[in-house]
């Protein structure tokens, strides 16, 4: 019998065993399918950076007729919800207990000044709850925007053209509706895959050590390469299926558009899975214990994938040394690839370096795993 043929027979036995185990033991299927779905649902619905229906208190001491149009403009904004209050004290109380996010104050002389803008500019005061600076800035922008809309309405009414002013035309690309879900969900798919991919192999191989089955395998004629190939191959199939279900959830359930090439998506997922599965093998070979393997997997995959992948926190706005660290987090390349494929399309100059980095990560993880797994118990 040729060596290759013998190797194929052994592989057939090992892969068959893996699939029987996957089908009979619900824990692998749960990690591969239930965990990603639950994580995607929780995070997809839970994490939203959009600020909608922000309540703003309005204290208006100026005469009613001059401010009616302004109030109308504010209320028309889908993001704002205007509450009339009698004085600043009442407004401040509402700010303090968190029932409004900001307070707009128009003094008695607001309309007078508005009539003669050349002599005195009209003053409107906006107080914002800046506990969350991001939301505060968004609120500020929305109120400003509403005021501008209103002012340009007046200008048209009075047939005035701002002298020498600059008019800015906004156009939002890639995510025209400014839906943060479209930005977050693709990153979330990457995050979920980096966690489950590693966890799958880390737990399952550690279990073989715990139950003593690894000892039988090591004492059998199976080569180390065959053992690793069977594990990687079987869980690769499972991982790709999990990845596909994640992508489908993103598109069908969250309505995220997909503008890129499915082939590139498959390639990127495959490279990333080889990395994640090899990392899992690496961890469980060192840990040999399901509890430790699970802890280490969470630590080395979840934290960096959440913090340093650019999924939620923009890498470009991190300090330089932290940006340097993110290059060692393979999840960042997958996040970037997925965001590109989902929102922009197949933009090769952006995809190629990321794909290259993923290939390198996969090669390093696989090589490291092969290097440390010897046919020994010591």
């Amino acid at each position: 019998m040729s060596a290759l043929r013998a190797s194929l027979i052994r592989l057939r036995g090992l892969v068959g065993k893996e699939f029987l185990q996957i089908l009979r033991d619900p824990s692998a299927l749960m990690i591969a399918f239930l965990l990603p779905v639950v994580l995607l649902l929780i995070n997809g619905f839970g994490i939203s950076l959009d600020a909608r229906d922000m309540r703003v208190a309005a204290v208006i001491d100026a005469p009613e007729e001059s401010t009616r149009a302004l109030l109308q403009a504010l209320s028309n904004s889908p993001y704002l919800d205007v509450v009339r209050v009698n004085d600043t004290q009442e407004g401040a109380a509402l700010m303090a207990d968190g029932s409004v996010r900001g307070m707009l104050v128009l003094r008695e002389d607001f309309s007078q000044h508005l009539q003669r803008p050349a002599r005195w500019p009209a003053h409107a005061q906006l107080l914002v709850n800046a506990t969350d600076p991001n939301t505060a800035r968004i609120l500020e922008g929305y109120v400003q925007g509403a005021l501008e809309t209103w002012l340009s309405g007046i200008a048209i009414e009075r047939r005035l053209v701002p002298a020498g002013g600059v008019s800015v035309e906004h156009r939002y690309w890639f995510n025209p509706e400014l839906r943060s879900a479209d930005f977050i969900i693709p990153g979330m798919v990457a995050f979920v895959m980096s966690m489950t991919g590693t966890l799958l192999t880390a737990l399952i191989v550690a279990r073989e050590w715990e139950r003593g089955t690894m000892e039988s395998m090591l004492a059998s004629p199976a080569r180390m390469g065959e053992l690793i190939a069977a594990k990687l191959g079987s869980y690769f199939v499972l991982g790709m299926a999990a990845m596909a279900s994640g992508v489908l959830i993103a598109i069908l359930l969250f309505g995220v558009p997909f503008r890129g090439s499915v082939l590139v998506l498959t390639l990127a997922s495959a490279l990333f899975l080889v990395f994640a599965l090899s990392l899992g093998l690496f961890i469980s070979t060192l840990a040999r214990n399901q509890f430790v393997a699970a802890q280490v997997s969470f630590l080395v995959t979840m934290m960096p994938a959440l913090m340093l992948s650019g999924m939620v926190y923009d890498i470009a706005s991190m300090p330089g040394w932290l940006q340097a660290i993110t290059f060692a987090v393979p999840a960042r390349y997958l996040v970037s690839i997925l965001q590109t494929l989902f929102l922009a399309g197949t933009v090769w100059p952006l995809l190629l370096p990321n794909l290259g980095a993923l290939a390198l990560a996969a090669a390093v993880a696989l090589g490291a795993t092969l290097a440390i797994t010897r046919r020994r118990l010591d």
């Binding site: 019998m1 043929r5 013998a6 027979i9 052994r10 057939r12 036995g13 090992l14 068959g16 065993k17 029987l20 185990q21 009979r24 033991d25 139950r211 003593g212 089955t213 000892e215 039988s216 395998m217 090591l218 004492a219 059998s220 004629p221 199976a222 080569r223 046919r375 020994r376 118990l377 010591d378």
Partner: protein, 604 residues
């Protein structure tokens, strides 16, 4: 005889934690493994048996020395030998979520067996192991004995030249244990033409007598190697049986141990088994308080004891416990515990008097631990009653538990804490005041010979010392009831003797002792025994009574193991418990000998 493996000057050291000193598992071991026989690797736990088998399987690289299997150096060329080795690790080593047939075909694939040979070998092994009716059953749902047989079948599948079995008989009931031996003996016969040989590691010293050759290991060193007869020969004329009055056998055992001619004393029913010093004249039975002294056949254990024995140890006297009223200290009536459809403990009743040592004897999964947990108040019974010192521990206040000492199976010590810290911890848990604590710990260190190791981490102690420490911890608060869960499984015979000497002294002082064990030798030390099988007590009696029940023309001198097997088998036909056919993972039951093995072959 063909040489299968050669071990030369082997030394294996496991690296210590955090760069500390390593643990020497094997030192200076040289041996030859030959074809056509079972070579027993015999020794108590931590003797280095598993390490030796793993080295033979090429799973470890020796620190020093050389190990060659079929001409291949296992340090560099293990791959070449793996196809010719069948290895059965201690922890079963099969896939529990694969069926019997799937496990077998996985091993057939791994050994790239041709289709025709594969079918032939599988049929043969399924027949030999009696697993043929269960090919579709998941391995995880097999009983303990059947799992071991499947592991054996997988290891034997590819006609290995060298079969390595790491303690296959641990935790298996005595009937299955005998079956394993007969299967291996038959397969050895069958593989004779292939030049097959077997290495069987075991902590049961009685199994050594069934081997062709024995490598006796103790604390990493090889004490001796040779056919079992070589171990027995020097013991000829040195082993005697002393008939004693049953009531005073414990006191007389202590007296006999102090006699200058006596090397070792063991209890056996109504007799004491004496091993004499080399060349010593048999003592006068009257001087030892007995009635008659008759020569007895030496056992392998006697040879082992003679090699490792030091000066005789007399257990320190115990302070008598005040008699707390008359009657039974432990009373169990119709105690039942069900887990779903599975009845783990089925209408168990027994009672234990003050100062009595009572044993629950049965294989793993018979329901001993479940009974124990209910007695300790850790598990609520489904029905029935368990009272300890007149109280139901399920409802009793902590005060009731203060009268109870409990020594768990794996000793439940904190491995990272020193001996003294462990004792301090347990003294605090039992609420001893500062002064009482200091006194109890000083007393325990002196009484249990722990003063020398007081500063050492408990995890690094030899097993026998761990056992002493665990007993010391259980006795810190001076309890008058003692629960022991498999107290001496795996410790060497000397440590076991010393342990039971202490327990005997405690019983003498009025402490009531309840023991569980699957170890027949341990049962000999009990005043009374209950044989537990599949959740029920089959019979209760003194060791002598149980033996008398099965004595007959074909079994003139039955051992307790013979009695156990016969009494369980006698009980089988009357039983009708279909739930036992579907054992779950948590509650492995033991085999129905009548079900998975053709009758008649048992005697072989």
């Amino acid at each position: 005889m063909a040489l299968l493996a050669e071990i030369d000057g082997l030394r294996h050291v496991f690296p210590g934690a955090r760069g500390g000193p390593g643990q020497v598992a094997l030192d200076g071991v040289s041996a030859r493994i030959e074809a056509g026989m079972i070579t027993g690797v015999v020794g108590p736990d931590a003797a280095g048996k598993t390490t030796l088998l793993r080295l033979l399987a090429g799973l470890l690289r020796p620190t020093e020395g050389r190990i060659a299997v079929l001409g291949h150096d296992m340090a560099t060329d293990a791959q070449a030998a793996h196809g010719m080795i069948g290895y059965m690790p201690q922890r079963f080593g099969l896939y529990e979520d694969l069926s019997v047939a799937e496990n077998l075909s996985l091993f057939a694939d791994l050994h790239t067996m041709p289709r025709a040979l594969r079918a032939e070998r599988m049929a043969l092994l399924l027949r030999f192991t009696g697993l043929a009716p269960f090919t579709a059953r998941l391995a995880g749902q097999l009983s303990g004995g059947m799992k071991q047989k499947l592991g054996l079948a997988c290891a034997l599948l590819a006609r290995p030249r060298l079969l390595l079995l790491d303690e296959p008989s641990v935790g298996v009931d005595p009937a299955s244990r005998r079956e394993l031996w007969s299967i291996v003996a038959q397969m050895l016969e069958e593989g004779h033409a292939d030049g097959m040989g077997v290495v069987w590691a075991t902590a049961y010293l009685d199994e050594a007598e069934r081997c062709g050759r024995v490598l006796l290991l103790h604390e990493g060193r090889m004490l001796a190697a040779g056919p079992p007869a070589e171990f027995l020969a020097p013991m000829a004329g040195r082993v005697f049986r002393l008939a004693v009055p049953a009531a005073s056998r414990r006191a007389l055992a202590v007296r006999a141990a102090a006699h200058p001619a006596v090397l070792d004393v063991a209890m056996q029913g109504d007799t004491l088994r004496l091993v004499l010093h080399e060349g010593a004249a048999p003592p006068d039975p009257a001087a030892l308080g007995g009635t008659a002294l008759t020569p007895a056949a030496p056992r392998f254990e006697d040879g082992f004891v003679a090699r490792i024995a030091g000066p005789a140890q007399v257990p320190p006297a115990e302070t008598p416990r005040p008699a707390g009223g008359d009657g039974q200290v432990i009373e169990v009536a119709d105690l039942t515990r069900r887990f779903g459809a599975f009845t783990a403990v089925d209408r168990v009743s027994f009672s234990v008097a003050r100062g009595e040592i009572f044993g629950l004897l049965g294989p793993n999964g018979a329901g001993k631990s479940t009974t124990f947990r209910m007695l300790c108040g850790l598990l609520a019974p489904s029905s029935g009653r368990a009272r300890v010192a007149g109280m139901d521990l399920m409802r009793a206040p902590a005060a009731a538990r203060a009268r109870l000492g409990y020594m768990a199976q794996r000793f439940s010590l904190y491995g990272e804490l020193s001996v003294r810290d462990n004792l301090t911890f347990f003294a605090r848990v039992y609420g001893l005041s500062r002064a009482a604590r200091a006194r109890a710990i000083a007393d325990a260190l002196a009484r249990f010979d722990l003063a020398e190791v007081a500063g050492q981490p408990a995890g690094l102690l030899p097993l026998g010392v761990k056992q002493r420490l665990a007993l010391a911890a259980a006795l810190l608060h001076g309890p008058d009831i003692l629960f022991l869960d498999e107290p001496t499984s795996g410790v060497d015979p000397l440590a076991r003797r010393a342990f039971w000497g202490r327990i005997g002294a405690l019983a003498q002082a009025g402490v009531t002792v309840l023991v569980t064990s699957h170890f027949m030798d341990e049962a000999e030390y009990c005043d009374r025994l209950a044989i537990v099988s599949a959740g029920r007590i089959i019979v209760t009696g003194t060791p002598a009574e149980l033996r008398a029940m099965v004595r007959g023309p074909d079994l003139p001198e039955p051992s307790l193991e013979d009695a156990f097997i016969a009494l369980v088998a006698r009980d089988q036909p009357s039983r009708d418990q279909p739930s036992r056919d579907h054992p779950t993972l948590d509650h492995p039951t033991f085999d129905h000998p009548t079900l998975d093995h053709p009758p008649g072959e048992r005697a072989a």
